[in-house]
Symmetry: C2
Subunit: 592 residues, 2 copies
């Protein structure tokens, strides 16, 4: 690859920056203002969710956006703190340090750094397929359960009570006994914000439409509901001095931009956050790539999954060096960015500048911001992640997938995010291997009047007690290698007159070393029992590979081009008399 | 199932005991004498290998044989202590208690008990497919590495030096510096036994043949080489009082049969041995079932894999209640049993009685038995397990399988048996998922003059810039779901005129919930880009399942019976002109 191509591949910014016009600039600037307003409450809230000071949320919404603008292939994806990754961050670092301590912040930064390095490595090594290990039902179950846990965790700050617990179940069990401790002012702010935010999701847009705004403008402006709630409740706390009445407020936020510095290398700490960082990276990547692909498709744009890993890696390293915490491409912010009309990643870069301006000049205004409002913002945001409908759809479609989904949800609610994810992934891989370990194997016979062979259970076919013909409808590899041995062993024990076994392989795309050894064992055992072993309809690449082993030399029978050829070579009179026989009606239905 | 059938299924003894004749009895008795003589050195040696007193090896060769005779489906399998399981036993319990202590023996018994319960549960729940998780290359690599480790561990006792270490690498590194500590008498006994035993594997049979014995008799008698070495060296130690010259001897062995008692239930201990017990169970089962299937095939007998789990479970529980340690069906002992002419499992029961008689009356004779002879017996037995040829064969056949095999060997040699097995299994599952995560997807076009569609890269075919036809040669499930999304995303981005995408599914045997969601996302995204999405050649069962989702209602295109039908319905003139075109020569080679 030339330097020029290499640069174009790893720096997607080169593909759009040269064509950047004044019109695009104006457009991207307007988008940036809207997204900045929407991002501020979200960034503050997700920092609190991760157990971090609010300004860390702002820090995590600057450098990552700039870096994604350089390295990302999606034109409209917006990166920053998101709900699930923030929850996973809190779960990962809570055991390592006390919330509020410098060590806690250091662990969050280390988590972003390790996560960024892992994503970068996965991108450079093209290991994006690792995300495949998270099946859709596991992701759906995990996000639903995370949403429930986040909402449960925010009930405390929203109502002004103190709930302690790491998991959904612990939190909910405490809620009842502590309801008496509710602070009425906090609950009024939190409850009011909740009601307003729920209403604003649909009602605000309708109101703006009635006020005469265009559909798209109304839809976009409706997204700033959280900003309105934030301003209104801050003013209320300041005006009525509710801070003195037990309403928890954000308080003094240090002014100024984050200092840029490589986080200290701490091998022991990095090892401790390695597994959580890997989980956060993969979950974040799955969320991000799915949003990116969906938005790109709407404008027929291209997203490169491997380059996206590199871009998210750079974004997280950026978060780490600027004092932030793990980030990824978020659904809601990307949709706002897209719908507001972002045309290039420059919109994201301008958003970063907007956030920087807020951080420089407006943080004093956050002093009276009640935490209850931020909690309400989070609750409304995450409840849209909870999707019980997926449970029903999956149950109807596939019991195995449903089991993996339910297990993920239950373990996450009871034991937390990491065990939930690990159990879900383990179970889905297990169920997958279980399913492939029992492939469909049919005993086949010749359809009279044709050279076709079909399942004896479904068709009137010609068979012979001396010949067992089996068709296997799956590639042969280690999860099912022994199953085939067992099936042939059974067939031989059940047919005392047997002299020939033919394995028809039209659906066998590969035979791995385990299956090869099973075939060798089958051949050897059949030979000991005086039975010859034949193959038919072996695909070209499979045959090429078999030639690299000694199997074909040891095979007691032959490899035939077709099942008919096999029978014709073993018992010519059987094959030809079946071919000449009158065709039985109704034997040509589609075959399972 | 009726009680009668249930009894026949779970008590295979009922299928042969009623037909037992006096002739079979005589025959089985002769076999039992031969096998008993062969088993005694093995049982003693494997007990030492597991770090246990020699008589525990005898105990483990009684009750398990009786129980297997009742529950086992193989007529000729012989169960008892085997080399690899003994090594794994030592590795599992060494961290739990000091060798020689009652706690160490207790842990070995607990290991047998938990292993037995696991096997029993797997048999009753029909979980025999769990053994599939061990691919052949991983098992082969593990057994080779275990053989090397066992041989290295026995060099110390065979030479009269003290080597400390848990792994092959640790043991070998100590060998050089300690060579000076060799006890010459011990080394003479150990070295002499080694030479004799290696010779006896081939030379003894030739000698017996020349002495006029029949081929089979000579072959069987040649297997008692270890017993000869045992008697000869014991006599030598006694005659020359070598015990006083630093030759380590077995010493006083408690007389009498083991007391039968359920091992105490110790939850904490059982939890500690759970994972090793699972690994020992599965490795033992894989070894045992493979021997059983191979022997059964020679006489066209049937082996039931699920019932074998129950039988091995019963055998291990039997070992536990009679003071033994984990057992399984062994290759060498089963082959001797088979070749000596065993006709029913009664031969195994009689062998158990033979061992009981030895335990009752002959243990005083073991006093002067040098441990070096037992070490030599083990070394000769396990070196036959080492198979470097398998490495080469696997390398030639499949790089992925080779990688799993090499990783298993290296990790086992460096870090021990459990890490080796876990890494091997993990890596082979990982490589399997990786391979299936990138299925073969071909862009296809119509072969002129036919209604066939083939890969555009291999054939001269008719295509259209408005239509993208993709054929996927694999079932669609979570490991490859996103790959398909990426491929279609790329295809769309590369074809600006595209209006239709057709997915040809002749090799798709299943579509899981993840792949369904990917198909829904593809359909949705294509719709946003103004492209219709079609399927063709969907198999019946796959179609039935798709009907249980809302995918078919949302699909922008249609499901066509054949790829030709799809094109004919989208662009009739294209399909018919291609069909009418002159056929291009040489386009009908076998398709990859």
């Amino acid at each position: 690859m030339s330097v020029r191509n290499l640069a174009r591949r790893f720096l997607p910014i080169l593909s759009w920056a040269p064509e950047y016009t004044r019109r695009t600039l104006t457009n991207d600037l307007i988008v940036a203002v809207i997204v900045t307003v929407m991002l501020i409450p979200q960034s503050l809230a997700y920092a609190l969710l991760a157990g971090l000071p609010v300004q860390v949320g702002l820090f995590a919404s600057m450098a990552p956006l700039l870096l994604y603008a350089i390295f990302g292939t999606s034109r409209t994806l917006a990166v920053g703190p998101v709900a699930v990754a923030s929850l996973m961050t809190a779960a990962a670092i809570a055991p390592l340090a006390a919330q509020g301590s410098p060590e806690y912040l250091g662990a969050a930064i280390a988590l972003a750094m390790v996560s960024g390095l892992l994503l970068l490595a996965m991108g450079l090594l093209r290991l994006g397929f690792l995300a495949n290990f998270l099946s859709h039902p596991v992701v759906a179950g995990f996000i639903t359960a995370s949403g429930l846990q986040i909402a449960a965790g925010q009930l405390g700050p929203a109502l002004g009570i103190h709930l302690e617990g790491e998991t959904f179940v612990e939190l909910i069990l405490q809620l009842g006994p502590r309801l008496g401790e509710i602070n009425p002012y906090t609950a009024a702010i939190g409850g009011g914000s909740l009601v307003f935010l729920f209403w604003s999701r649909s009602g605000l847009k309708a109101l703006l439409l009635r006020a005469g705004l265009a559909d798209r403008t109304a839809g976009t402006l409706a997204k700033i509901g959280p900003a309105i709630a934030l301003v209104a409740t801050t003013v209320a706390v300041w005006g009525f001095a509710l801070g003195d009445r037990g309403v928890s407020i954000v308080g003094a936020v240090p002014e100024g931009l984050p200092s840029i510095a490589l986080p200290p290398f701490d091998g022991a700490l990095w090892m401790k956050v390695l597994v959580p960082a890997l989980l956060i990276s993969i979950v974040g990547y799955v969320e991000s790539i799915s949003v990116a692909l969906t938005l790109a498709a709407k404008r027929r744009q291209r997203v490169d999954p491997d380059q996206e890993l590199i871009a998210l890696g750079a974004a997280n390293i950026g978060a780490a060096v600027s004092g932030g915490f793990p980030v990824t491409g978020g659904l809601s912010r990307s949709v706002v960015n897209f719908e507001a009309g972002a045309e290039t990643p420059a919109a994201g870069a301008f958003t970063a500048i907007g956030i920087a301006l807020v951080t420089l000049f407006l943080t004093p205004l956050l002093f009276f911001l009640p935490k209850a409002t931020l909690a309400a913002t989070i609750i409304v945001a995450v409840l849209s992640l909870v999707d019980f409908g997926a449970l029903k759809r999956t149950f109807v479609y596939s019991r195995g997938d449903f089991a993996a989904m339910v297990a993920t949800i239950i373990v996450t609610l009871v034991a937390g995010v990491e065990p939930g994810l690990v159990v879900g992934v383990g179970l889905s891989i297990f169920l997958h291997l279980y399913a492939t370990s029992r492939p469909h194997v049919a005993v086949v016979g010749q359809i009279p009047g044709t050279a076709h062979f079909r399942n004896v259970k479904r068709h009137d076919v010609v068979t012979d007690p001396e010949i067992l013909s089996l068709r296997v409808d799956e590639s042969l590899y280690f999860p099912n290698a022994r199953f085939l041995e067992d099936r042939i062993n059974e067939g031989v024990a059940a047919n005392p007159e047997l002299k020939h076994v033919i394995l028809e392989c039209p659906a066998v795309n590969t035979i791995d070393a385990s299956a090869l050894e099973s075939l060798e064992a089958i051949n050897h055992r059949l030979k000991d029992g005086g039975i010859t072993f034949h193959l038919s309809e072996v695909k070209g690449p499979v045959m090429d590979r078999l030639k690299r082993s000694s199997f074909l030399e040891e095979l007691t029978g032959q490899v035939h081009l077709s099942q008919y050829d096999a029978i014709a070579s073993i018992k010519p009179e059987l094959a030809s008399s079946a071919l000449a026989a009158e065709r039985v009606r109704g034997t040509e239905e589609p075959e399972e």
